[in-house]
Amino acid sequence: MLILRIFIFYFLLFWLVGFNYVISQNKGQFDHEISFARHLMGRGHYKEALFVLEDLEPGRNSQKDSLNFLLGWILYGQKDLETSAKYLTKVSNDSPFFHQSLFFAAYNHAYLNHTNISDELLSSFDLSSDSRLFYMRNFQYAGLALLDRDLEKFQMLNKKLNNDFILTQSEETNFVSYYGQIKNHPQKSVYLAGLMSMLVPGAGKIYAGKTSEGIANFLYTGALLATTYDLYTSFGVKNPFFIISAIISGVFYTGNIWGSMVAVKRVKNEFNDEIDQRILLDMHIPLRKLFPN
């Protein structure tokens, strides 16, 4: 009987030790691979880090969070923002990486012009317990309002930003400057540009803000029209040289009108793209300061 008890005791002891050993080995292996992937990321070897992480099979939720965060972070580093946001939004709110994931997923969507998704993500969690995160969220909201060109909303949000948070101080000033630039940016008419170029070739382009292009347009369209007139006065309407010259001049004259109309749109798009890039950069810098790793 005593031998049986001793046997059962040691059997249970071995089982317990063995089980714990296997569990700790798996955990150790997972943590080791995560550290290795981080090491590769630190050296900028994102492709290799992805290769390492692809083979990992997380067990516990915390492991899943670590894996999703790292995958999202690597893809963010590789500028695959859509997929990065997908992984980052999978990180649960128990994870220490949750807030970083949330803000960067929102930023990725903002960069991809999905400002509504970005807004939804930021507003889906209560951050009032942490004043820094709360302030950062308002700052991001302000950036999103500018990206949406919702100037009233920006004014409202800007009142909540008091310019005393060191991480966003200079960017807040920039936001106010962008607000002014957007508000004061002249709304030029496509039709007026066309009409101006119809009257004086190249004038529409100058009106659109492309002065050098306008002068060049004026010179070559003017030269062609003058040549056509010269041929008309010397040889008359039926002369083939006049006909060829008139056709070429007509094409260039029409092209100059159409080009002026397009130039207005082009200048508007250039302005919007440039402002958007600056806003996104200013939304990004404080995030990197708040979450340096």
Partner: protein, 296 residues
Amino acid sequence: MINVFYWICIFLCANYSLTNVTSASELTIFEDADKLLEEGKYFEAAVSFERIYFTSEDSQSKIIANLKRTEALKQLGEYSKARNDLQRSVHVNTYADLHQEVLYQMAFCDYMDGNYVSSRVFLLQIEHYYPVLRESNEVERLLALVNVMLGQWEQASLHTLSLIEKSLSSQLLKDSLSEETDNLFCSCNWPVEKSEKKAGMLSTFLPGTGHVYAGYPGKGILNAGSQLLSLSFAGVMMWQGLYITGFTVGLGLFQSFYFGGIRQANFLTHQSNLVDFADYKERLSLFIFSIENFQE
């Protein structure tokens, strides 16, 4: 008492097996990585060697893993990455054999990546720290090649002659190749850098001559002809009383061909210089590569 005996047994047994597993797993990982390299799975091998570098606490193993990773990365053509990774081991000079190999591989990767000055810096370090390795054919060849790429023709010639001397045994072959080296590296064969400014000036005062100077006489004749034609057209039109047409079309075309010709002469001279130097460097490099084949 029996229980204590069992505990001691368990402890020793566990300790022994753990130690054994660790060293065995390290050995297995090295073997696995080597196998991947042999099988041509270079990317996987590079990751495996980096894992060894990351895991190992022994500096020697780290350097070996780093060097083997370099082999895999070289096969992938990622010389810049290999060089940056090797940088981690370049300051560890405890193991002379490994250190000189690291220096050589850095010089090699820099050469392959087009950083010839940096490559020469590592070769100079080899020369200073490891004179025995400096005498090897590999280092001599690399020195010759780096000097060729840097346009140091005389230095390159000396290293090439030294390589011939070291790598060949037949005196007849040595003499023949040395003579060929002297011919190839002769200052009469050096490419001459043409002046872009001179080409531009020539085309300014005599259209087409800048192109001829750059080595493109056909294009020069075409450009000069175009200018002559457009000027003639302007003259004929004005003679006919079509002053506006003569001015806008004739002179408009002429100024395009004239100023375009000057710009083209500059561009062609620049291109010609690039081509001449690249051709000469290629000829020399091919010759240097071929030296050791003569032995076979």
